[in-house]
Every structure is written in structure tokens, then in C-alpha cells.
Amino acid sequence: MTEFIHNHILTLITFLPLLGGAVVLLIPRDRKDAIRRTALVFTLIPLLLAGMLFAGFNTSSSGFTTEAGIQFVEKHAWIRDFNINYFVGVDGLSIPMILLCALICPLCILASWNIEKGVKGYHFLFLLLETGMMGVFVALDFFLFFIFWEVMLLPMYFLIGIWGGPRKEYAAIKFFIYTLVGSVLMLLVIIYAYLVSTPHTFDLTELARNSSVLGYRAILWWGLFIGFAIKVPLFPFHTWLPDAHVEAPTAISVVLAGILLKMGTYGILRINFSLLPDVTRSMATVMAVIGTINIIYGALCAMAQKDLKKLVAYSSISHMGYVMLGMASFTDEGLNGAVLQMFNHGVVTAMLFLLVGVVYDRAHHREIEGFGGLASVTPNYAFVTFLAFFAALGLPGLNSFISEALVLLGAFKTHTVLAVIAATGVIITAAYCLWTLQRVFLGAVNQKYALLPDLTGREIASLAPLAVLVVVLGVFPHPVLNLMKSTLGSLNALVVAAL
């Protein structure tokens, strides 16, 4: 049994949620609590398995393009005639993302407990979504990667479109179309890469090893980059994000910001970096500039928002800019900082969206100006929110500080001017975070909300793990950093050596 689990751990993590979805479909639709509990169980098991993965992961193995650097590999022929394999494995780049995804999904099920309409469909789609997300992070076959990448779109479309806010239909189709534009370009690159490689292969490690066969490199790079940039989202492809985030139900916003956005940067690291290292290297400035624009532009937009959820959405754009800047620095610090920031932002932004959901459930609006003095009404809620916003603004001692500092440290070496500009983003971030806290929690108590109930047990359960992580990783980031260090080192070496 243990042997079986050990050998198929990635498959189990990926497909157990799907199995859970099938189970959910079999439960009668009026037994809502049974459905919710089933969904919770089928997201907790992958979390448990991810814990085992974390424990069993050998942090010293490196080598990005070699199979030796990849652990827990499973490889089976899927379509022999096209040499498509079911090829999954983890390395230091994907394992933080898997942990993040496994952690956030059960919390989202908890946060969706108050969904009453179409409970069965909702949980089925959510579990399908988790399978898609996990699949993207474990897949090492380009075709498999693409299938998972697209499989995610369908549940997301329905989850936003059915359970979303007033403009849900617009937001859902906008999300779908944007992502599809990106992914069809990726598809062409995939097919091209397959056809020029000899023997034809979709194997990402093999393609990376023989990446010199690829022609039209700059075009390929842009084809992939735009596809991923839309997902991140990088300026100027970000306009779907505020709509989707604002209209989506709380748990889906959490998944969107916490996990889906990371897929963009993950894809750039996994595919652009390894398949086209030379182009990546030559695009360093472009990427760094885009990252800096994201930081500053996102922060300024966030400051201008009146809607709390929109503010958090724009802050995501800003924070993902740090990831981009770190990646573009091509230093070990920058790269480690970038991936750590992906993880940290996942944790922090998930918290923020959960918190927005909490207040929205009670007050049924999200106008920042509409509150006031909530700190005295709901002290526990205020405490957690302060923690989350402080983490978002990069307060030393909390997790984001470390990753942002690493990013800026790395960027300063190679893009000094941009790093300086980006650093001013920290100030803007502090400004909008503190200003928001002040408007919502401090000042005179808005009498309309004088009797607002504080956090419930379920809400605490969904927030507490994240809050603990924020603090623990703020003082002791090594568990996560150690995971990625050697893999990212070899990835960086690959890119730096390419030019």
C-alpha cells in the first residue's frame, strides 16, 4: 500500500479530486452537507499526500533538464503513434506550487460552505478544477501540460459564470477568451516543436536538451510568452483580471489569484526558460520592464479602487510584477525570490480574498468607504486582516518581505534602475494597504455595522493555516527555499550560459 502510494503519488494527487468529483455527482442533490464534506475529504487527501511529497522530496538533486533532477517520476505511453506520454514528475520548481495548490483547495471548500445554489455542480467543477491545476504543475509532457492547461478553463468558466456576481457572464467569457487566445498560440508552438524534433517528441525535458533544433526562436518565445503573460497577467494583458476576480465567488477568486496566476510565471520558467534560454536571456530587459510596470501600475490602480475586492485584484497584478522582475534578473537571489514570491503571494492573496469574502457575506457590499471602525466591532477579523495586509505590504517578519527583498536584491545587480523604480512600488503598496485598513477598520464606527458578527469557526479554520504560514515563513523561509534552491540554480545556470 505505502509502496503503491509512493510510486503513484503524483497521479493520486492529481486525479483524486477528479474521483471526488465523480463521487459528488453520485450524491443526491438535496444532501448538500454530504456533498460539501465529500469535497472536503477529497481535497484533504491530496493535501496529506502533498505533505508526504514534501517529506520525501530530495532537496539536493538538481539538473533542470535531466531526468535525474526530477523526482517521483511516472511515465507511461499514452498515444504511442504520436509519442505522447503520461509523464509526470516534480522538481524544485513545481513542488512549491503543488504544496500551495494542495493547501489552498481545501480552504476554498471551507470558504464555499455557504454556497446554496447548485451545490453539486459547484463542487464537481471545483474538484475538476483542482485536477486541472495539479496536472499543470506535475506534467512534463508538453501535450499533457496543454490538456491540463485547457481543462482548467471549462470549470473556471462555469464557476465564474454561474456562481458569480452581477456581471458574471461578461467576466466569465472575457476570462475564457483571453486565456484561449494565449493558449491557441501555445498550441501552435507545441505542434511546431513536436514536428521539428527528431524523433518527434512532446517530452519537455528532451525538448529542453535538444532545444537547438527549434527555429524561429523569437517568434516561438513570444507565442509562449504571450500565452503565459495573459495568465499572470502581465501588462497590457491584465484587463480580464479585475473583472474575473470581482465577479467570481470568494473561493474562486482565491483559486484564481492564489494558484492560477502562478501558472503563468510557472509556464515561463518551465518552458520559455528551458526551451529557449538564449531568447529568454536576450529578453531580460523586456521582462524586467514589464515586471516593473506591473508593480507600479498595479499598485497605483489598487490605490484608486473603491471596491475592496478590486483593490485586492489589482494588488495581485502588482505583486506578480515582483515575480517577473526577479525572474528577469537571472541571479540566484532573484530567481529564488521570484518563486518564493509566487508561493507567498499565493498565501497572502488567498487570505485577502477570503477576508473580503467574509465581510461581503455580512455586509453584502464591498465599498471601502462604506465601512469604518470595524476594528472595535469585529476584533478577530480586524486582527487577521491587519496581518494579511501587513504581509501584503512587505512588513519585515512576515513572508512577503523575504521574497520581495530577494527579488529586489537580485534585480539590483542586473537592472539597477528598474530595481530602484520597483522599490518605490513598495511605498505605494504600503500607502494603499494602510489607507484601506484605516478606512475600513479605524475611525468612527459606522452604526449600520455596529452589530456585525465576528469570524465564525469555519472562517477561522480557513484562515488560520494561512495566517500561521505568513508568520512562520516570515521568520523561517528555509523549508520552502530549500526545496527550490538547487533546481533554480541549474535553471539559472542554463539561461545564463545560453548567451
Binding site: W78, I79, R80, D81, F82, G118, F146, I147, E150, V151, L153, L154, Y157, F158, G161, I162, K168, E169, A172, I173, F176, I177, L180, V181, V184, L185, L187, L188, I191, Y192, Y194, L195
Partner: protein, 503 residues
């Protein structure tokens, strides 16, 4: 091969011809009042099923390419596989006719309808297998005339009549132009036989412009059959006016047949790119022509589908767009392109007929073909949820979203194009951008069914036997759409067989 020997290669067509005559004779004996449509349709389905079985046996036992009946017809795997595809769609056509309200209960002329349907299938089979200009023309006319009749067969309203007349007029002009093109070709080469024409073109210098005109005219006729731009204008009106079951069939069977013969003519007569043949002057390069046609067809089809509010018109335009996608692989002028076209039509049959079947069930239930009839369908109990899910899967598959078979079909087509080399990369880009456009209108139907808050209209009525049959068929089609999206090796091995007609 002489006529007597040829008969063994002709078992399925021969059986079908005899069966049609027997059925006609039988219809004289059975009085109309006694016969329910069910009986006739079952007889028709039985006949087609036996024909299909014979065809499958022939496909398995007679590999290789043989000219039969002194070169009038050709027995090869390309033809046989496309015939199988057409026969499957023919069987489903009769099944759908049984399920659709307009052609099932109180439909007095089901006998004639069935005989016409069988004749249409016979026409398709001859058309696909033809190896001679005359045979091609005869097959096509048999196919066309029965199509005109079936379009106007059910006297619903004035739209039906309009559709039938329009179809007839367009069709007559197109086949006239085509036969003129063929007569030019005959004049140039002095032969009606494809192989002989090919041999002449390879051996002799032929006037380029004359050949070009001839090809253009032939393409007009075939383009009409597959509803390619700019010969697509008939199809939305015909699809809308014809009985829904027949529209469903038109979008798959005759279209696939048209593609089969298009490839046969282009590859066999006007040169094969895949084989390293000495490039004579006659190696007229039609790649670019077809590529442009393909790009225009898919773009026009998709753009015109955007504002549609009638499900049949929407599917008609979508079917134009899909012809454009498939043309892309024809343009690749390679053996892989041929198998890609077959693969695409196999999955297109599944997903498109599933979409049409849902349209039939909804039309039966709510007497509407408008998209508003689908509002809130996903929330109308288990039946509604099943129908809406099946429809959503079919539509997303048509849009080419994984993990459905339509996506794999698109990958085949794109692969064929990209394999061809940099010259056609632009076509691949056009195609994927078209996929995005198409998502708009497919997703609009899905939006109606699931995202709309209002549940419009009455709940679905209780289950009947017909409903069970519809759902079973729908379930099978949907299951296969999903299965071939995840594991398509069986279909891949089949489609590979089409390639060997080139030897």
C-alpha cells in the same frame, strides 16, 4: 477488372441497390394506413446496417487499391472508410428522423422518405468510389437530386419550399459549371478516366491557363457540395428549412463525401505532393488556392455564425467553418493531410450530430429552434441537466477545447498544415484565431443553458420510449466525443489506412 469480377468488390453497393428496389416493391404491398413510420425507418436502418457491415468486411478483407468495372469505380481504403463514415451518418439520419417530431408521428410518406434516404446513401457511395468523370457526375447527381427532394419533403412552412428551390437552383448551376470544367479537362486530355487523365498530364505539356480554368470550374462544383466559401450561401437556408434530421445529415455525410472526392480529384488527377514525383508542368500547384479558400471559408463561416439566433442556422454556419478547417488539411497536400481529414470528419460526426440531436429534442419539446428556447435548460431537472451538458460538451468539442475529440481533430489538421512547412504557417495562425472567434457563439448557447438565471418555459415532459432512445444515442455520441479526446489510438489507426490510396 471486368464487370463480373468487379461484383465481388461491389457487394455493399450491390446489396443496397437491390434492397432499395425490394423496398419499393414492398411499399406497393403494404397499405399506408398499416405502416407506421417506425416500420419503414427500421427497414431503412436495417438495410443501411447490412450495407455498413458488408462495407466493413470489404474494408478488412480487400486492402489495396483496385480499379473495378473497367475503371469506372475504384475500390480502395480511402473510399471504403469514407463510405463507412457516410453510412454511419445515414443510419443516424434515419434514427433521428424517427425521433424528430416533424418526421415521426402522423408522417404519411415515410416510405418514400426512407427510399430516398437509401438512394442518397447509394449516390454517396458511388460518388466517393468514382474513378471516372462520368461516374463522379452520376453519383453526385443521384446524391444531389435526392437531397433536393428530402429538403422539401416535409411541408412545414414556406421556408421549406424556399430552401428546396434555392438548393435546387444553386445545385444545378454548380453542377453545370463543374461539368463544363470536366469537359474542358476531357478536351485537354482526351479521357474520362482519372488514371488516364493523370498519365496524360504527366506525359504531355498542357496549357496552363486552360487547366487552371478547368480546375477552377471543378472546384466550384465540389466547393458547392462541401459548402466552401464562396459557394456556401445555400447552406444556412437549406439547413434551416429542411427537416432537422436531414440538416444534421447534410452537415456530415454529403460533406464528408464531398471531401473524399475532392481529395481524390486533387491528389489523383492533379498531382500528389507527398510523393516525390517528377514535377511536370501539369503539377499545377493548387496548395495556395485551397489554402486561401480554407482561410476564407472558416473566417466567413465563423463571423457569420456570430449574430445567429436560430440553432440550425448557427450550426449551419459552424459547419461551413468546419469545412474550412478540414480544407486546411487538404491544402497541406500530404498523405497525413488525408488521414487528418478523415479523422476530423469522424469526430465531427460525433459532436455535430450530438448537437443536432439536442436541437431535435428541444424542438420536439418546445416547438422552437430559437436560441432563447435553451434558456435555463441546465436547471430544468435531471433531464435538462443531461441535455444541456451533452450540448455543452458537443459545442466545446466543436470549438476545439480539450479534453474533447474536437480538439484532437484540430491538432491533426494543424499538424498537417505545420508539417507542410513555413509556406502555410499563416494558415495555422488563421485557424487558431478562428477557434477563438468560434468560441463566442458556441459559448453563447452554453451561457443560455447554464448561466442564465431565468428558467424559461415549462419543465421537460415525462420520459417516453422515444426520449429514452434519444438519450441513449446522445449518451453514446457524447461518450465517444469524450473518449476520443482522451484516447484516440483506435481512430488514428483507422485514419492511417486512408493514406494508402496514394500508392
Amino acid at each position: 477488372m471486368n464487370n463480373l469480377e468487379s461484383l465481388t468488390y461491389f457487394a455493399s453497393e450491390g446489396f443496397l441497390s437491390v434492397y432499395i428496389i425490394l423496398l419499393l416493391a414492398a411499399s406497393l404491398l403494404i397499405r399506408k394506413e398499416q405502416g407506421t413510420p417506425g416500420l419503414y425507418y427500421s427497414l431503412g436502418i436495417f438495410g443501411l446496417a447490412v450495407t455498413l457491415a458488408l462495407e466493413i468486411v470489404a474494408c478488412a478483407t480487400r486492402p489495396g487499391s483496385t480499379e473495378i468495372f473497367h475503371g469506372l469505380l475504384r475500390s480502395d481504403s480511402l473510399g471504403r472508410l469514407f463510405k463507412i463514415l457516410c453510412l454511419v451518418s445515414g443510419i443516424l439520419f434515419l434514427l433521428f428522423s424517427l425521433l424528430a417530431r416533424e418526421t415521426s408521428k402522423r408522417f404519411r410518406d415515410s416510405m418514400e422518405y426512407t427510399v430516398l434516404a437509401l438512394s442518397l446513401c447509394l449516390g454517396m457511395m458511388l460518388f466517393i468510389a468514382s474513378n471516372n468523370i462520368l461516374m463522379l457526375y452520376l453519383g453526385m447527381e443521384l446524391l444531389s437530386f435526392t437531397s433536393y427532394l428530402l429538403t422539401g419533403f416535409v411541408d412545414r412552412d414556406e421556408r421549406t419550399t424556399e430552401a428546396a428551390v434555392k438548393y435546387l437552383l444553386y445545385g444545378a448551376v454548380a453542377s453545370g459549371v463543374m461539368i463544363y470544367g470536366f469537359s474542358l479537362l476531357y478536351g485537354l486530355t482526351g479521357s474520362l478516366d482519372f488514371s488516364a487523365i493523370r498519365a496524360y498530364l504527366v506525359a504531355n505539356q498542357v496549357s496552363g491557363s486552360m487547366l487552371f480554368i478547368s480546375i477552377a470550374f471543378i472546384l466550384t462544383g465540389l466547393g458547392f457540395k462541401i459548402a466552401a466559401f464562396p459557394f456556401h450561401l445555400w447552406s444556412p437556408d437549406v439547413y434551416e428549412g429542411a427537416p432537422t434530421a436531414f440538416s444534421a445529415f447534410l452537415s456530415v455525410g454529403p460533406k464528408a463525401a464531398g471531401f473524399a472526392i475532392l481529395m481524390r480529384v486533387l491528389y489523383q488527377v492533379f498531382g500528389v505532393g507527398a510523393q516525390a514525383e517528377a514535377p511536370p508542368a501539369a503539377q499545377f500547384d493548387w496548395t495556395f488556392t485551397i489554402a486561401v479558400l480554407s482561410a476564407l471559408t472558416m473566417t466567413v463561416g465563423n463571423l457569420a455564425a456570430l449574430p445567429q439566433r436560430n440553432i440550425k442556422r448557427l450550426l449551419a454556419y459552424s459547419s461551413i467553418a468546419h469545412a474550412g478547417y478540414a480544407l486546411m488539411a487538404v491544402a497541406s497536400r500530404s498523405a497525413f493531410g488525408i488521414s487528418a481529414v478523415f479523422f476530423y470528419f469522424a469526430v465531427y460526426l460525433l459532436m455535430n450530430l450530438a448537437a443536432f440531436l439536442v436541437a431535435i429534442v428541444i424542438a420536439n419539446e418546445y416547438y422552437t429552434e430559437r436560441l432563447d428556447g435553451y434558456e435555463g435548460l441546465g436547471w430544468k431537472g435531471p433531464q435538462g441537466a443531461f441535455l444541456a451538458s451533452a450540448m455543452a460538451i458537443a459545442l466545446f468539442s466543436l470549438a476545439g477545447i480539450p479534453p474533447f475529440a474536437g480538439f484532437i481533430g484540430k491538432v491533426y489538421l494543424l499538424m498537417a498544415v505545420i508539417k507542410k512547412g513555413p509556406g502555410l504557417y499563416w494558415l495555422a495562425v488563421v485557424a487558431v484565431l478562428n477557434t477563438v472567434i468560434s468560441l463566442f457563439y458556441y459559448a453563447r448557447v452554453v451561457k443560455m443553458m447554464f448561466l442564465s438565471k431565468r428558467v424559461k418555459g415549462a419543465p421537460l415532459s415525462a420520459m417516453t420510449t422515444e426520449r429514452y432512445v434519444s438519450y441513449a444515442v446522445l449518451g453514446v455520441l457524447t461518450f465517444l466525443t469524450l473518449l476520443f479526446g482522451l484516447y484516440w489510438t483506435p481512430l488514428d489507426s483507422l485514419s492511417k489506412l486512408t493514406m494508402n490510396f496514394l500508392n
